[in-house]
């Protein structure tokens, strides 16, 4: 019988979440920010599924499916905005968005 302690699963999830968070904070390229967001959402999915498997409830996987839906919608929207950004500024630098002009 495999028995994974919940602490280790949460440690893995928090490490992945921190990696993604640092990526969101530190990177300037919007594409990398979106990829880091994917890493963060995955970490949350690990936490949910780990908790669901430790307590033998299917709710964790239900929440993971909802996170999956959220990630799909977020990526579609984010990439559409990215395309618009590239057309408008010919660059993916997120610092060019801080002008808030027209």
């Amino acid at each position: 019988m495999i028995s994974l302690p919940l602490e280790h699963i949460f440690i893995l999830a928090s490490i992945l979440f921190m990696i993604g968070f640092v990526g969101v904070i530190a990177r300037k390229n919007t594409l990398f920010i979106l990829m880091s967001l994917e890493v963060m959402l995955n970490a949350v999915g690990i936490a949910f599924i780990g908790a669901g498997s430790v307590w033998q409830q299917a709710d964790g996987q239900v929440m993971f499916i909802l996170i999956l839906t959220l990630a799909a919608a977020e990526v579609a929207l984010g990439l559409a905005l990215l395309i618009r950004l590239q057309r408008r500024f010919q660059s993916l630098d997120i610092d060019k968005l801080n002008r808030l002009r027209g």
Binding site: I2, N29, V39, A80, R88
Partner: protein
Amino acid sequence: MNSNSVIPLEMLFYLAGFIAIVASLKVVLGKHAVHSLLYLIVSLLAVAVCFYFMGAPFAAGLEVIVYAGAILVLFVFAIMMFGLGQDEEKHAPNTPGLTIWFGPCALALALLFELIYIINNVEQHNVTAINHISPKQVGSLLYGPYLLAVEIASFLLLAGLVAGYHFAKPDGQEHCNKIAETGDKQ
């Protein structure tokens, strides 16, 4: 799991988690968008293996199909649409060829090793002893107590679809450029 030659399943889980962490680090620290995307795919596959060892094979399949199969294809599509920008070519590595995809290949081969190992050692490990949560339970829960959440998720997907179409369509782009130019002149 009595004999010493058998690797315990916990170690395989930790190996997959380690691969996920390394690949995610390479995603965040990478300079080239396509290379980071390769590492992101490896990271998602490693997370899927973690899901399998946590007793969620349905979620593992969804992770591979939806994340690595659909969402990452969207990323590839967007990158191919942009072409390689100036910042990409500036940071392009000097060593072309094998060295670029050696890293993702090594990590993915480690995952493949885990898969083959599990398939070969089904009897010793009694893989069914993992506390599986069947897709049937998940489905009955999704369309039972969580029905409202499913409906809201469908609204979210519809909103994403409409907004993606609206933002990415080329109509009015010249108009936007004109406004930007006049704004710059002012």
